[in-house]
């Protein structure tokens, strides 16, 4: 591992409840936690870490609205303006028969738009490089990373604090 990067103190936790109480204790000691890495979604961890509610559902809603509008505009233009035809005696712009397609396009755009947003803001992409502080964090261990530069405490003090909070081991890692 190169020595030039940022230095992190990495606490390994065996159980989600120990992790949750440790996050509380460590943040209570004015230590800034860089991020926690868990093998599965741990409920309440985002609140303990002080993360705000994700606004991604708002993105989905906006994408959905765009979908609905685009679908109606498309059908009204094609069926009613560009090439009007009488089909089954219906109006050229027959809103009821446009509803199924408008619904599908809404769902399609909302879903794809939201997922694309999720991938971009979370930096998920094919061949994206994971921040692996400990390889067991996708298996059964919970990992807490503390950026040394962003905290006033030194390595020794942080390690002691992590061990006292219930970490099963403490390592150092450079990124």
């Amino acid at each position: 591992m190169m020595e030039s990067g940022k230095k992190f103190i990495v606490g390994i936790f065996d159980d989600e409840s120990i992790l949750l109480s440790a996050v509380k204790k460590i943040r209570g000691n004015d230590v800034k936690i860089d991020e926690c890495y868990t093998p599965y979604p741990v409920h309440g961890l985002d609140e303990e870490l002080g993360y705000k509610r994700s606004r991604i559902s708002i993105a989905a809603f906006i994408f959905g609205l765009i979908g609905t509008s685009l679908a109606f505009l498309m059908m009204i233009y094609m069926m009613g303006i560009d090439w009007p035809m009488i089909i089954g005696g219906k109006d050229h712009i027959a809103i009821p028969s446009f509803i199924p397609v408008a619904f599908e396009v809404t769902v399609l755009l909302a879903a794809l738009g939201m997922v694309a947003t999720f991938f971009i803001i979370s930096n998920l992409k094919p061949y994206g490089k994971p921040k692996t502080y400990d390889i067991r964090s996708t298996d059964d261990k919970h990992v807490m990373a503390i950026d040394l530069a962003k905290n006033s405490k030194n390595t020794q003090e942080l390690s002691t604090l992590l061990m006292e909070s219930g970490a099963s081991e403490v390592n150092e890692k450079n990124f």
Partner: protein, 457 residues
């Protein structure tokens, strides 16, 4: 008053640890293919090639190779299409509707059920595409581009076009939903991988997932919103498929009961197919601790309920045909039950209405052999349902001089075989190279519902 609800049965048995979960699921991905798997794959590839011959001949010589005639213009093609789409309903129902209802038992079956959904929808899409005769031109018929690059657009008043939009949206959203769930599990496989090739492949597939708390928080929001979107979507798909029939003026098709009746039938057949595949996967991969009798019983209860809804729908149809006073409608139903296709009608009635009622008995719905047998019976019944709706309604139309019978040719059967080959080739590939159970989600329910924790209390 102090009320304590009864302790639910554990979802994962066998006192599993988190590491056991990773190991039990990943070892099938990591192990070399075993002879049983290769045998099964060879059979499905065989079906794919034999069926592929029928498909190639049909594409070369045209759909005149099928048993269709002037009166019966839709038969096995659309029967197979509706049958496969119906099967493709369970996966998204399990992952979306059961997620919204916080049914945690979905966690160990959703992955394989969603995979089955996606593969079934691929098989379904095949049939409308082939039945156009010249699939390479269907781009102009379905996609809203100026027809033949003039200014004539596709017809948005037509239910057939709604169907194209519904199924392609359903396929895309299901695929995305499934893949989002797979990403954390691919990361687990990547981090366990010992050889370079699988590290590179699963590394690419896992999109650089590291399980950061912030990403998990967004992941959970995304899953919930996708579930919220997929729930009306899954109900809309078969509703719109039923519009293909219900908006026409053919006696036997022109009924308002079709949308709910088709949706119930789809869930019914989808769960049956999930059970057929799960019982085998569970046995071969020794996943009895994850897919327990409890899971199977719950799925059987859903089959029993949706089967009963289907039964009520059949009887309502008969009643409405009589009550409407329309002689064409009355004849269509009389002809179904007592005409030359009576055997198809009564096969449908027996398989779909009577057989699921056996699940009222706890002994039967918790018996693996009975469940397996009935899950196949249900899907035979559901195939006959679509055959009855399509062929018996068409074969005797308003003009008795054009009454005709339909019998399939070897090419009709061959393409049906092809779709089976395709389905099982995809499913077996999935079972070998992908984690068949959602590890991350099972881990998240392990603590509250595993044998280990409950025993400790």
């Amino acid at each position: 008053m102090d009320v304590t609800s009864p302790v639910r049965e554990v979802l994962v048995t066998g006192n599993k640890t988190y590491h056991d979960v990773s190991h039990d699921i990943c070892r099938h991905v990591e192990a070399k293919p075993n002879p049983k798997w290769m045998g099964a794959m060879a059979i499905s590839l065989g079906a794919l090639f034999v069926g592929g011959y029928a498909l190639a001949i049909t594409l070369w010589d045209g759909i005149g190779m099928w048993g269709l005639n002037k009166t019966v213009g839709w038969a096995w093609d659309i029967t197979n299409f509706v049958w496969w789409v119906g099967i493709g309903h369970a996966g998204t129902l399990i992952s979306a509707v059961l997620l919204l209802f916080r049914q945690k038992w979905r966690t160990s079956i959703n992955r394989a059920a969603e995979a089955m959904t996606i593969f079934a929808v691929i098989c379904a899409l095949l049939f409308p595409l082939i039945h156009t005769g010249r699939p390479w031109l269907s781009f102009y018929w379905f996609v809203p581009i100026p027809n033949t690059w003039g200014s004539l657009w596709v017809n948005f008043h037509s239910p057939l076009l709604w169907d194209f939009f519904a199924i392609s949206t359903y396929f895309t959203v299901s695929l995305v939903f499934w893949y989002i769930g797979l990403i954390p599990d691919f990361a687990t496989i990547r981090d366990r991988a010992t050889n370079k090739i699988s590290k590179a492949i699963y590394g690419a597939l896992s999109f650089g997932w590291d399980g950061a708390a912030k990403t998990w928080q967004r992941y959970e929001t995304v899953s919930l919103v996708l579930a919220g979107l997929a729930t009306p979507l899954v109900l809309s798909v078969h509703t719109i498929v039923s519009f293909d029939f219900a908006t026409s003026v053919i006696p036997g098709w022109h009924t308002t009961i079709f949308p709910p009746y088709f949706v119930a039938g789809a869930i019914f057949s989808g769960f049956a197919m999930v059970l057929t595949l799960m019982l085998v996967t569970r046995k071969v991969y020794k996943l009895e601790d994850y897919i327990t009798i409890n899971h199977i019983e719950l799925m059987n209860i859903i089959i029993m309920i949706t089967g009963s809804i289907v039964g009520v729908a059949y009887i309502t149809e008969l009643f409405m045909a009589w009550y409407s006073g329309v002689q064409y409608e009355q004849y269509a139903f009389l002809n179904r039950a007592t005409g030359p296709y009576w055997w198809a009608y009564w096969s449908m009635m027996t398989c779909n209405v009577i057989s699921p009622q056996l699940f009222w008995f706890k002994k039967i719905r918790t018996n693996l052999y009975a469940t397996f047998a009935l899950s196949i019976v249900v899907n035979i019944g559901m195939w006959f349902e679509r055959f009855v709706i399509i062929v018996t309604s068409l074969h005797r139309d308003y003009l008795p001089s054009s009454w005709a019978m339909f019998s399939p040719t070897i090419y009709d059967m061959g393409i049906y075989l092809f779709s089976f080959g395709l389905f099982f080739t995809l499913f077996f590939s999935f079972a070998k190279f992908f984690p068949v159970i959602n590890m991350a989600e099972v881990k998240s329910v392990l603590k509250t519902s595993s044998g280990e924790i409950v025993n400790k209390k």
